[in-house]
C-alpha cells in the first residue's frame, strides 16, 4: 500500500522522506550541499536536484496540490527541510518557488498561473528578482526604473542591481515605477520580463570570493507586453510586500544552522583533537547551540501559529535577523578553527563534481568563502538595521 505523505504520522513521514532523499542524492549532490558557501550552492547541482525533486512531485512542498505542490502542513514542510539539510541536499533557490510562485497564486491571472507555475517547478524558467537599484537599496520605495505604457506594451528604462543569479536566469520579476507620485504605495508595479528581450543587458558582478552570484541588469527601451503585469498597475508595492505576510511554513533558518553547527563540531572533534583553538571554541559552540535551539522553537512556533497572526510579517524580520547573525557567528568560529589553512584560495576543493584526490586539510574547505559571502546576509533582504526598525515599529509600536 502506498503511504499518503499528507496524512501519515510525522515519524513515518520523516522516515519516508529520509529514505527518498538518501536514495536519490548522489555524492556530488551531497558535496554541493556541504560545500555551499552562501544561500546559493553550485548551480548545476542545484538544478539537478530540483529535477529529481520535480519528477517525484516534491519541488515545492509548500505549494497547494492544485499548482503542483505537495500541500503539506507547516510541520511536514519543516521536517522535509530538516531531512534535506541533515543529508546535505543542495538548497533550491528561493526566487521562483518561494517568492514568485506564491505571488502568482495570490495576484496572477489564470493565464499567468497556468503558463508560469509549471515552468517554475520544472526549472524551464529560472527567475531572478529585480528589486534593488543603485540608488534604492534599503530605501526600496525610491526606485526609479520606469515603465511607460505605450499601447499594448510597457517601455522599461533603468537598471537593477544585486540581481542574484541573473546570468543563469531567463526571466526577471521587477518592481518598476509606473506613475509619478512619490509614494511607493501607488506608483509602483510588479512586472515580469523576459531577459532575452532586446534592450536587456546582464553584467555579472564578481564577488570577494572570485565567484559570480550577483549581477546588474540594464534596461534600455525594453518592450514588455502589458499582460506581464502582476496585480493592478501601480499596486505592485502591495504585491511585493504581501509575500512576507502570506508565506506559509514560515522561515526555517534553524534547519541550515543546525547542520552547519553539526559539521563544525564534527570537524573540530574529529580533525582537531586536542587542538587548543578547538578547546577554546567549545564554549562558543555551546553558546551558539543554545541560540540555535531557541531559534528552532521560535520558528516552529511561528510555522504552527495561525495565518491570521498580524505580526507574522514582522516576526519574519525577527527570524531573518537572528538566523543571519547566528550564521555569521558560526562562520567566524569555523574560520578560527581552520588556522593557517585559511590562507589558500579554494578552487577545485569547492567544485562538487571534482574527481580526484582531496587532502585532509580540504575538510571544511568552505569556511573562508562562507565567511566573506555571508557578510552580505545582514545586508540583503533588508539590512539588520532595517529589520530592527521593523521590530521597533511593528511589534513594539515605538
Amino acid at each position: 500500500m502506498k503511504i499518503d505523505l499528507s496524512t501519515c504520522d510525522l515519524s513515518t513521514f520523516r522516515a519516508q522522506i529520509e529514505s527518498f532523499v538518501s536514495g536519490n542524492l548522489s555524492s556530488s549532490l551531497q558535496q554541493a550541499g556541504r560545500l555551499s558557501t552562501s544561500v546559493f550552492c553550485d548551480f548545476r547541482a542545484m538544478m539537478e536536484w530540483q529535477k529529481i525533486l520535480h519528477s517525484n512531485g516534491m519541488a515545492a512542498p509548500s505549494w497547494p496540490i492544485e499548482f503542483g505542490g505537495c500541500g503539506w502542513d507547516p510541520e511536514r514542510i519543516l521536517v522535509f527541510r530538516e531531512v534535506c539539510a541533515s543529508l546535505d541536499a543542495p538548497q533550491l533557490t528561493s526566487m521562483g518557488i518561494q517568492m514568485l510562485g506564491p505571488i502568482l497564486m495570490s495576484y496572477g491571472t489564470d493565464a499567468q498561473k497556468s503558463e508560469l507555475l509549471p515552468r517554475i517547478l520544472s526549472g524551464e524558467d529560472f527567475w531572478c528578482q529585480g528589486y534593488s537599484e543603485p540608488s534604492a537599496g534599503s530605501d526600496l520605495g525610491s526606485l526609479s526604473t520606469k515603465a511607460e505604457r505605450k499601447g499594448d506594451f510597457y517601455v522599461v528604462n533603468g537598471s537593477k542591481i544585486w540581481t542574484s543569479l541573473a546570468h543563469h536566469s531567463n526571466k526577471i520579476f521587477c518592481l518598476v515605477r509606473t506613475a509619478k507620485e512619490r509614494s511607493p504605495k501607488n506608483s509602483i508595479s510588479f512586472l515580469l520580463i523576459d531577459l532575452d528581450t532586446p534592450g536587456v543587458e546582464v553584467r555579472p558582478i564578481v564577488s570577494l570570493d572570485g565567484a559570480v552570484e550577483q549581477c546588474e541588469v540594464f534596461f534600455t527601451d525594453v518592450k514588455v507586453p502589458v499582460q506581464n503585469i502582476v496585480g493592478e498597475e501601480n499596486d505592485g508595492w502591495k504585491v511585493a510586500l504581501s509575500l512576507l505576510e502570506h508565506e506559509r511554513g514560515g522561515a526555517s533558518y534553524y534547519v541550515g544552522l543546525q547542520r552547519k553547527l553539526e559539521l563544525i563540531k564534527e570537524f573540530s572533534e574529529s580533525y582537531l583533537v586536542g587542538n587548543i583553538v578547538a578547546e577554546r571554541c567549545k564554549d562558543e559552540l555551546l553558546d551558539i547551540e543554545a541560540d540555535v535551539l531557541s531559534l528552532t522553537y521560535l520558528e516552529r512556533g511561528i510555522a504552527k501559529s495561525s495565518e491570521g497572526d498580524s505580526r507574522i510579517g514582522a516576526l519574519s524580520s525577527l527570524t531573518k535577523l537572528i538566523g543571519t547573525e547566528l550564521g555569521q557567528k558560526l562562520d567566524e568560529i569555523s574560520l578560527s578553527l581552520r588556522g593557517r589553512d585559511v590562507l589558500v584560495v579554494m578552487e577545485h576543493e569547492l567544485d562538487p563534481y571534482y574527481i580526484g584526490e582531496r587532502l585532509e586539510c580540504d575538510k571544511d574547505a568552505a569556511a573562508f568563502n562562507s565567511y566573506i559571502n555571508n557578510r552580505a546576509s545582514t545586508i540583503y533582504g533588508g539590512t539588520a538595521e532595517i529589520q530592527r526598525n521593523i521590530i521597533a515599529k511593528k511589534i513594539l509600536m515605538l
Binding site: T296, L298, G301, I322, L398
Partner: protein, 364 residues
C-alpha cells in the same frame, strides 16, 4: 486537571498577584516581615497553587513542566518574594521522587503547613555535589553551607549526603542544636540564612532514601528548579521590556519622546529578540516534558536553556536600566529590583561559568 480548571487557577493567580500583591509590601529589605511573606505563602498554598505543582500520583493536580513554568512566569513578572522555589519545587521534587518515607512530609509541604530547603554541597559553585560523611562515625563534622535562601524560616532541612560513598538523603529539623542559621536579608528582598552544621548527630537524622536512585532524584529536582528559575527570569524580562517601552514613549528629551530615537529603538528591538527567543525556547522545551524521566531526557536542553536565559537576561536588564536613565538606579522603580533578582537567578547553581562547564562535562 482539565484546561478549564487550569484557566480558573491562573485567573486566581492573576487576580491575587494583581490585587493583593505588591513587591514593595513584601520585600524583606523594606518594611515587610518574614511573617507576612509566610502568611502569603500559606494563603496561596490554600488557593491550590502548591498542589498544582505536583502530579496526581502524589496527590497533586498538575505538575507538568508547563505548569511549573507558567506559575513561575507570573512570579517573575510580579517579582514575587516567596519560598516556593526552594520549598515546593526543589524540596518538593525530591520528596515526591523518594515516595515512601517522603510521602508524609510531602503531604504537609503541599498543604503549606511546613517549608523545607535542600542543602547539597558546601561548594558555592556546585549544586549536585553531596556533603561527604560517615553516619556511623560523624566525629566533629563541620560544614559551612554559605547562603541558603529562606533557611531562617524553614521547618526542615533536606541534606544531600554521601554516606560512606553512598548517596543519601537525610531529613533534619532546622531547629536542631547542631544547625546554626545566621539570619540575613537577601539582595533580592528575600530572606537568607548562612547555614553551618556543626556536630551532626546520627539520631537526629532521618534517612529518607539511599542508594543509586538518589542521584537521579536530586538531578531531576535541580532540572525542575532550573525550569522554574528560567520561567521566573522570562517573566521578569517581559516586565522589563514592557515597562521600558512604556517609559520611553512618555519620557521626553530634546522636545520628543525618547522612543523616537533609533538607537533606543534598536536597543529595545534587541531586548525583544532576547526576551522572545528565551520565552519560545522555554515554552518549547517545557511543553515536551511531562514525566520525571522526561527531565533526564531533556537535561542537555534544559542546561542550554539556563545558559541562554542567563545571557539574554543580562542584555535585557542592562538595556532596561540604560533606557530609563538615572531613575532606574534608584530604589523607587521596579527596574532595579528585577535586575537584582535576575543576578540572583544567574548565580543559582553556581553561575554562568559553572553552567557552561556542566554542559561540557555532564550532558555532552
Amino acid at each position: 486537571m482539565n484546561s478549564e480548571e487550569r484557566d480558573l487557577l491562573f485567573e486566581s493567580v492573576n487576580k491575587y498577584l494583581t490585587h493583593s500583591y505588591n513587591y514593595f509590601d513584601f520585600r524583606l529589605d523594606g518594611r515587610a516581615s518574614s511573617e507576612s511573606v509566610m502568611k502569603m505563602y500559606k494563603e496561596t498554598c490554600d488557593l491550590g497553587w502548591s498542589a498544582f505543582l505536583f502530579s496526581e500520583e502524589v496527590g497533586g493536580f498538575g505538575g507538568a513542566a508547563v505548569d511549573i513554568a507558567d506559575l513561575f512566569h507570573k512570579f517573575g513578572s510580579h517579582r514575587v518574594v516567596t519560598p516556593y522555589l526552594e520549598s515546593q519545587i526543589t524540596a518538593g521534587a525530591i520528596l515526591s521522587g523518594i515516595g515512601g518515607k517522603g510521602s508524609a512530609v510531602l503531604g504537609e509541604l503541599m498543604a503549606g503547613n511546613i517549608t523545607l530547603c535542600v542543602l547539597g554541597s558546601s561548594d558555592r559553585y556546585s549544586d549536585s555535589g553531596a556533603i561527604v560523611l560517615d553516619l556511623d562515625n560523624l566525629g566533629d563534622l563541620v560544614c559551612d553551607y554559605g547562603a541558603v535562601p529562606w533557611a531562617p524560616v524553614v521547618d526542615k532541612l533536606l541534606l544531600f549526603a554521601s554516606n560512606k560513598g553512598e548517596n543519601t538523603l537525610l531529613l533534619v529539623d532546622r531547629q536542631s542544636s547542631f544547625v546554626s542559621v545566621e539570619r540575613r536579608i537577601g539582595v533580592d528582598g528575600s530572606l537568607v540564612g548562612r547555614v553551618t552544621i556543626n556536630g551532626l548527630r546520627r539520631e537526629s537524622c532521618e534517612i529518607l532514601a539511599e542508594g543509586s536512585a538518589v542521584s537521579d532524584i536530586v538531578k531531576i529536582a535541580s532540572l525542575k528548579t532550573s525550569i522554574a528559575l528560567c520561567a521566573e527570569a522570562v517573566g521578569a524580562m517581559e516586565s522589563l521590556l514592557r515597562q521600558t517601552v512604556e517609559y520611553t514613549k512618555t519620557r521626553k528629551q530634546f522636545g520628543q519622546p525618547i522612543s523616537s530615537f533609533q538607537v533606543l529603538q534598536h536597543m529595545m528591538a534587541n531586548m525583544f529578540i532576547a526576551q522572545t527567543t528565551s520565552s519560545e525556547m522555554l515554552k518549547g522545551i517545557a511543553s515536551e516534558i511531562s514525566t520525571d524521566s522526561d527531565y533526564l531526557a531533556y537535561e542537555r536542553e534544559i542546561m542550554l536553556l539556563k545558559h541562554k536565559i542567563n545571557k539574554e537576561s543580562k542584555l535585557v536588564r542592562h538595556s532596561a536600566v540604560q533606557c530609563h536613565g538615572g531613575i532606574a538606579t534608584t530604589d523607587e522603580l521596579m527596574i532595579g529590583h528585577y535586575l537584582k533578582r535576575l543576578v540572583v537567578i544567574d548565580n543559582y547553581f553556581g553561575g554562568p561559568h559553572v553552567d557552561m562547564n556542566r554542559i561540557n562535562r555532564e550532558a555532552a
